[in-house]
């Protein structure tokens, strides 16, 4: 069963927090607002109080639990490995179970649960505007208070693709004998908003001779629903993805989106049964490409006389899994790229999925902290490995009036590969 742990199941991990305060240094949200209820230590204390009935699940607590990017930066640096992001997710499930989903949560899950609806919306170019404008009532505080992301005139968003990625390609693309078979987990953003990233990955995988599976019936990775506390949707999506991705027993399940990697990777490990076994196969594309020697191959190509200065942003969901060297190795190896590390490459971009819907202002403040690093790097392009980060970074760059363009690392690789 794709059953979720309850908050109570985390009691021991909650009690592992020794209140040292170290997480204050690593929580991007705390960095902006400096209130204890926002940082991991405070959230863990509140979760504990909730378990012991010392505090009620009132509006205030819902608000506190909403102020988390689920970036796991606190977990990464916590000397006692307290998994605050999971604890927050469990608290949000508790909230959803007791009080029902928030309006936004409902709208979101209606869409992500239903690929046909998603397709239709995407085709009419309105996936997110529809989601927000139609499902969020006119008079909602959400609409009034937050300049709605994705649709806000203030916010830059990519255009919706004319044809989703998965509809452009067959389900099986055979490679050379003896080479591995990979299933490509596209995720929503690549499928609907950035199909060119998927195309780039396909070009690279074809070059490497691997067999690629693109199951058409795969769904959303579930992270937005996890984040909204919607366990029913997560369970449904988990089942669908398990069925779709394991049908043809791939050697590896590849993600090109850091968030999806967290969703079907780390998150699936917490579920019972075959889910954990499937999660073991999930691999970020950076790791896969380096493991198969693509960086060495690229380094052997003749260096181009004209290059672009490229810097790199670490998506939290890769950084906290220790995946920081691989993307840099690829970038350094590219013949048309001069790689420059920027200060604060490991700082969160501030998106946090639904976080930026509820707390766009804070999200922008967190994002703005990336600006000096990007500027000083003198980069023409900011590469990263998560479409979510790409959107947020481009928004940040536009607000700051900077020149660099944001690009997915795979597009750079595909560009430099011989045709």
């Amino acid at each position: 069963m794709a059953k979720h742990k309850k908050l109570e199941d985390y009691r021991e991990q909650i009690e592992q927090c020794v209140k040292c305060g170290a997480c204050q240094a690593h929580c991007p949200v705390f960095g902006e607002h400096k209130r204890e209820s926002i940082v991991a230590r405070g959230k863990v204390a509140l979760a504990h109080a909730l378990l012991n009935d010392e505090v009620k699940l009132d509006e205030r607590l819902v608000e506190d639990m909403s102020k988390c990017l689920m970036c796991a930066s606190c977990f990464d640096k916590c000397p006692n490995l307290v998994p605050t992001d999971e604890i927050v997710a469990a608290a949000r499930r508790e909230i959803a179970d007791q009080q029902g989903l928030s309006t936004f949560g409902k709208a979101l899950t209606t869409v992500i649960k239903n690929p046909r609806l998603m397709n239709t919306l995407a085709k009419s170019g309105k996936a997110f505007s529809a989601l927000l404008f139609k499902k969020v009532p006119e008079q909602s505080g959400l609409r009034l208070r937050f300049p709605l992301p994705f649709v806000s005139r203030e916010r830059s968003i990519p255009e919706i693709a004319a044809k989703p990625f998965r509809e452009r390609h067959p389900e099986v693309i055979p490679g050379e004998a003896g080479k591995p078979t990979v299933a490509f987990f596209t995720g929503c953003m690549i499928n609907y908003m950035y199909p060119e990233i998927g195309d780039a990955l396909l070009k690279i995988l074809k070059f490497m001779g691997v067999t690629v599976l693109i199951p058409g019936d795969q769904g959303c990775c579930g992270l937005p629903a996890i984040s909204a506390g919607d366990s029913a949707t997560v369970e449904e999506l988990s089942k669908r993805n398990l069925a779709a991705l394991t049908r043809r027993t791939p050697d590896v399940i590849l993600t090109a989106c850091a968030t999806c990697n967290e969703g079907i990777g780390r998150h699936f490990k917490h579920l019972e049964g075959e889910y954990a076994a499937m999660a073991e196969k999930v691999m970020d594309m950076n790791v896969f490409l380096v493991r198969h020697g693509l960086d060495k191959l690229l380094a052997e190509l003749p260096r181009k006389a004209v290059f672009q200065r490229v810097t790199y942003h670490d998506p939290c969901h890769l950084r906290t899994q220790g995946i920081t060297k691989e993307p840099r190795a690829l970038l350094r190896a590219l013949p048309g790229v001069r790689f420059v590390d920027m200060e604060g490459a490991d700082r969160c971009c501030g998106l946090g999925g639904t976080f930026s819907v509820y707390h766009y202002d804070t999200s922008k403040l967190i994002g703005a902290r990336k600006v000096p690093g990007i500027e000083q790097s003198g980069a023409d392009l900011v590469a990263t490995a998560c479409p979510g980060c790409m959107m947020q970074l481009q928004d940040t760059i536009n607000h700051a009036g900077l020149k660099p363009r944001v690009i997915h690392l795979l597009e750079l690789i595909a560009h430099d590969l011989p045709a």
Binding site: K19, G21, Q24, A25, K34, V55, K56, R60, P79
Partner: protein, 458 residues
Amino acid sequence: MDQRIIRILQEIVGKDQVTTERADLICYSYDATQQQYLPEVVVFPADAKQISLILKMANAEKIPVFPRGAGSGFTGGSLPTRGGIVLVTSRMDRILRIDSENLVAEVEPGVVTEQFQQAVEKVGLFYPPDPASLKFSTLGGNVAECAGGPRCVKYGVTKDYILGLEVVTPQGDIIRTGGETMKGVVGYDLTKLMCGSEGTLGIITKIIIKLLPLPEARKTMLVLFDSIDGAARAVSAIIGGKIIPATLEFMDATTIDCVRKATGLQLPEAAQAVLIIEVDGEREMLERQAQKILDIVQPLGVVETRVAATPAESEDIWKVRRLVSPSLRKVNPDKFNEDICVPRSKVPEMIRAVEAIAKKHAIPIVNFGHAGDGNIHVNVMIDKKVPGQQEKADQAIEEIFAAALKLGGTMSGEHGVGITKAPYIPMELDPAAVAYMKTIKKALDPNNILNPGKVLLD
């Protein structure tokens, strides 16, 4: 709390900066001691004027006020043990100026230590105090606790870098102590009195800091010894050899074991003690200094030495030290960290005393710390859930303090007294000295408003 009081507070600091919500009271009820006391209200003032008004009101209404920085204290200094007001400095977090000509900076108390260090290092200056909590503790909290760290052996502790302060007195007056100059002997030295006063004598609202030029380079060495005695003798020998390294950190055999077990780090079995030695200064000098140190320690039972050639290798060495705290949990879930300090030459004797105490009570005690200044972090490791262990730990801790005092040491090198060490004060200070201190507190804070019940049991 009385609604009237809340309204006054709201008028002083603004409505959004006062909270009585249960969630907030819970969030400001703890620090790193893991004890819990709920405040009645939490306020986030913006400046000295607001704090002055709060203290005047608190005096009139007889409400206790508990200053709080990042709440990373190890002795409960910021805990609202008597309800009342928790006053948080997190909004007062501006670096007001860095004066490169006079090597002076002025900051608000809520500035996080590391952020300040990075800011001055960017302009080629140096603020040496480096408590292990520097990434999150505040400069106000550092001054109030007179925090120290690995670099103290060469550079001294927080108070050695504080030239002057702006302080709100317990009765609400705003005063300035010290000043901008490197020297100044007019009147009593209130700056030094405030350093380490643990928030009981005044609330620090501005800090004038002395800076140094940033050392050009550093060199880090890891030296493994076959006995703790060898390592301790090495410390005396290095300093006796007229070299003061920037840091001289040590780890005992149990600590090394923990790190090995928890992380799989390759450290030879024969290593019974480790020193991490770092020298800093002009690049050309470092090579020679490092060699001199290695020559001095070589005859003292050295098993292996590793000298970092690059900053990355140096970082790898420091990682060994940083892995200590997280890996201790593998020994036992609950840790009581005492930071006793003894004269440098007494470190081996102190370690032997601690080993005897551990054996006597049959509980693991792990030692590491700042050997260069005799400051040992003695970690009594227990499982609180096992009946009788807490009592054993309490007993062991008291014996550890007694042993440190007998060797001419003190029961706290850096964490302060707060509430956890207050009961032991009579072991270290004679009654006349305690009475003297109490007279000061009483004179400055007749209503016992500011951080009551801390340091001196009243």
